[in-house]
């Protein structure tokens, strides 16, 4: 390793781990001690990443308060230094980290709020796709319907809440200060996050709709979706219910093309 690389290695260790070896390689500062000047880089590193994460997670920050949020971010940054050039990905692992790391793991709503905010951010500039309109379905021949596999918008992310994290997010999202008390749900709720037009959206999915959307995500054809719905909640209205969900997905800009198998 050349000296140029060695100095970068030392500087990085000074910033990440407080290693002071690089101090010996620095020239005296103009009007300030070089140790103080080196500290500018160390503190700026943490402050900048905490600020980036705060910009991507304003509700989590409001929910935790400045001090607790900073504590979470600092621990996260230390455990997961950024590996992506684009700062927008810095908080990509925050939801999983909060969900699995004590003491935050004891508060499932934190990881769930973090997941929702990250998913909304990811949907914001996910790939574009031509969406299907109701009028487009007229071109599908009646006999083809069972074998149609619908594509989903590339922005779609599916997750689940075990708490009322969604209600807390709604209460705090526009600068609100009050939120409902944390509650654990009787049954986990499925959640969809996607972008409609230029706007990121989310909503809770009823269990049957969640099952069908996940199956669609896995490439299951429409005929099988109807059979799954029949098995889930009775066959008499299965096709109608499935068609109803389909209409809702189309209305929300979630369907992006189809193929026939």
């Amino acid at each position: 390793m050349g000296r140029f690389a060695e100095l970068q290695e030392m500087m990085q260790q000074a910033i990440l781990a407080g290693d002071s070896r690089v101090l010996e390689t620095l020239a005296p500062g103009g009007q300030e001690d070089k140790a103080v000047l080196l500290e500018v880089y160390r503190s700026a590193y943490v402050l900048r990443l905490v600020e980036i994460i705060g910009n991507d997670h304003p509700v989590l920050k409001a929910y935790l308060g400045e001090t607790n949020f900073n504590g979470l971010c600092r621990t996260f940054i230390k455990a997961h230094p950024s590996t992506n050039r684009n700062a927008r990905w810095v908080s990509q692992g925050l939801a999983d980290f909060a969900a699995m790391t004590p003491p935050w793991a004891e508060h499932a709503e934190m990881g769930e709020i973090a997941w929702l905010e990250r998913a909304l951010g990811n949907a914001f500039d996910a790939a574009n796709s031509q969406v299907v309109g109701l009028e487009d379905l007229g071109s599908i021949a009646a006999d083809d319907w069972p074998s149609v596999v619908f594509g989903l918008h590339p922005s779609l992310a599916l997750g689940k809440f075990t708490t009322n994290a969604g209600d807390i997010w709604t209460a705090l999202k526009d600068g609100g200060e009050d939120h409902p008390p944390v509650a654990t749900l009787d049954e986990p709720q499925a959640v969809a996050v996607w972008r409609e037009g230029l706007t990121s959206k989310w909503r809770v999915l009823p269990p049957e709709e969640a099952m069908l959307l996940r199956a669609m995500h896995d490439g299951v054809p429409f005929g099988v979706l109807c059979e799954m719905a029949a098995a889930f909640a009775g066959g008499d209205t299965a096709a109608v219910r499935t068609a109803g969900y389909l209409q809702g997905w189309i209305g929300g800009g979630l369907l992006a093309g189809w193929t026939t198998i």
Binding site: F4, Q8, P81, R85, N86, A87
Partner: protein, 289 residues
């Protein structure tokens, strides 16, 4: 005199201002966009950039090329950057003389380098590579620094001047960064200004900083202070008409508060150069067809 098109007086494009820019007629000749903000697959950022590009010239400014890093070059990043540049046809593409991390880590900061012959060889080779992949000349910006390496064998401006000679790259002369670094390291900013080739400067950045008493920090969250305006006037005297812009990265005010700073940059250029020379070339103001 700069060998680059004179775009006039611009502003760093920030998402908070999209609506006011598109709905109004801001007295801004061009916009600088942060490349990484648009290296996305879809959604609002690219739609907004398309609309703005229809009306304004742009330049692309990156913050994470890490051109001085000793880590392996990130060809995927460079190819995505090229795709963005090919799509939006900026007047030029710039990034900083710095590194942002090694060993797969990104510190999201513009970190200083020692100004050594070894460093010069390394950075020059990287600039050659980048220019090859991008298919265009690079514009390299001086960063604010708080520490200097004792092993440096030349001054920052000598390093930059040699880079332009070896690679044909141009310079983005950040007036605030020169002011901040000169204060922090105790040199005369005029030495920097006079030390780089007059025809190599493609662009000026104008910004504010934080004064910590015994040192200054390049926070880009304040209006441009008088000392930086004064150095800008000196830069105009030496470099002539160069595309200049206001760069605000934090504590971002409404567009209406930044436009007067753009106007001040224009007004100082008129005072220093005369109205005719401070008027951007009509051809360089053409937006995308």
């Amino acid at each position: 005199m700069s060998r680059h098109p004179f775009l006039g007086f611009g502003l760093g494009l920030r998402s908070q201002h999209y609506r006011d820019i598109l709905d109004g007629e801001p007295a801004v000749d061009w916009f600088e966009v942060i490349s990484e903000n648009y290296m996305a697959d879809g959604g609002q950022p690219l739609v907004m950039l398309e609309r703005i590009r229809e009306r304004f010239p742009i330049v692309m400014h990156g913050v994470s090329m890490s051109i001085a890093s000793t880590a392996d070059p990130d060809l995927d990043y460079l190819k995505r950057l090229r795709a963005l540049a090919d799509r939006f046809e900026p007047a030029w593409v710039s990034d900083h003389l710095c590194w942002t991390g090694v060993h797969g880590v990104n510190l999201h900061d513009l970190l200083p380098i020692p100004y050594t012959r070894e460093g010069l060889d390394h950075v020059a080779s990287r600039i050659h590579l980048v220019q090859e992949v991008l298919g265009r000349e690079m514009v390299i910006e001086n960063v604010s620094t708080y520490v200097q390496f004792a092993e440096s064998e030349m001054q920052e401006w000598e390093f930059l001047a040699e880079l332009t000679r070896r690679t044909g790259c141009s310079l983005l002369f950040d007036v605030n960064n020169v002011y901040v670094s000169a204060f922090n390291h105790g040199y005369d900013p005029m030495d920097f200004l006079n030390g780089i080739p007059a025809d190599s400067v493609a662009q000026f950045h104008l910004a504010g900083h934080s004064d910590m008493g015994t040192y200054k920090i390049d926070t880009h969250d304040h209006p441009v202070p008088d000392e930086v305006w004064s150095l800008y006037a000196d830069a105009l005297r030496r470099f002539g008409p160069v595309s200049a812009m206001i760069e605000r990265d934090d504590n971002i005010p409404p567009l209406a508060e930044l436009v007067p700073e753009v106007e001040r940059a224009r007004s100082i250029a008129v005072d220093v150069l005369g109205r005719e020379m401070a008027t951007p070339e009509r051809s360089s103001l053409q937006a995308a067809e």
